[in-house]
């Protein structure tokens, strides 16, 4: 077993355990903090996939903005400090069944695919992923239209969020 595989197994296990904690702990601030742990794990998975830029973006966007927004929202939407009452609803067993079925179905489907055990090709010499990503995002032959649409989406979300959360006097 190579060093990379050991790192992957440790990080993967931690990520999955943290994800399980996200969906099961009662205290929602703890759930958001476990989400941070999961997102860190995913960032390390990105670096294992040679996508360092995406790992940094993951930390900036998810941990720096989204996780903190979640903690803010949790604090703004409750009257006492601790969460009481059940974390899961009455039909949680059905949800668990559905999740397990989805997992089994995905694995079954993937197993019958020929490329499942594929190995990664070596990265060509002088390949700069950030440079390539930048030109792909901005060249007309690439993805300039989705990129612009994403920016319009962000603007719409900004306006919508401000409108929804604005306290009318």
């Amino acid at each position: 077993m190579t060093g990379e595989q050991v790192i992957f197994l440790i990080v993967g296990a931690v990520t999955l355990i943290a994800a399980l904690m996200v969906v099961t702990v009662r205290d929602l601030v703890h759930a958001a903090l476990w989400l941070v742990a999961t997102l860190f794990g995913v960032a390390i998975i990105y670096t294992l996939l040679n996508a360092g830029f995406l790992a940094v973006v993951q930390v900036v966007v998810y941990i720096g903005a989204i996780a903190i927004l979640f903690i803010f929202a949790v604090m703004l939407t409750r009257r006492q400090a601790a969460d009481t009452g059940a974390a899961l609803n009455k039909n949680w067993w059905a949800g668990a069944l559905m999740a397990m079925l989805a997992f089994a179905g995905l694995i079954f489907m993937l197993q019958s695919w020929s490329g499942f055990q594929k190995q990664a090709a070596a990265i060509p010499l002088g390949f700069d992923a950030v440079n390539q990503l930048g030109s792909a995002l901005t060249s007309p032959a690439g993805f300039v239209l989705p990129f612009e649409v994403a920016s319009v989406l962000l603007l719409a979300a900004l306006v919508g969020a401000v409108y929804l959360a604005f306290n009318k006097k």
Partner: protein
């Protein structure tokens, strides 16, 4: 080297856990947390397929970036909705928001 299957299994696991969170949690904020887990699972898949496919085609990474943007937008609007609902009904438990259920 790590085979592609490991990443895909990890992503499938993460997706299923997120799905469970969405289906089973009572609090609306917690449901959004589950959605985030699912989006992250999708992103792992996109980046893994970029790395194991043609590395010069940046499609996987571009889609991952767009998923980031969508996730940010979704969280901003979703949490604004939750806060707005909390102001009107003073609860964010999904079961208690049953005004349309007669």
């Amino acid at each position: 080297m790590i085979p592609l299957s490991w990443f895909l299994i990890l992503a499938a696991g993460l997706f299923s856990i997120g799905l469970f969170g969405v289906l089973a949690r009572r609090n609306a904020v917690a449901i959004l947390l589950g959605v985030e887990l699912m989006l992250n699972a999708v992103n792992i898949n996109l980046v893994a397929f970029w790395r194991y496919g043609d590395i010069l085609l940046m499609t996987g990474q571009v889609f991952a970036i767009i998923v980031f943007a969508v996730a940010a937008a979704e969280v901003a609007v979703g949490l604004a909705l939750v806060i707005s609902v909390y102001r009107r009904r003073s609860t964010v438990v999904a079961e208690e928001l049953d005004l349309l259920k007669w």
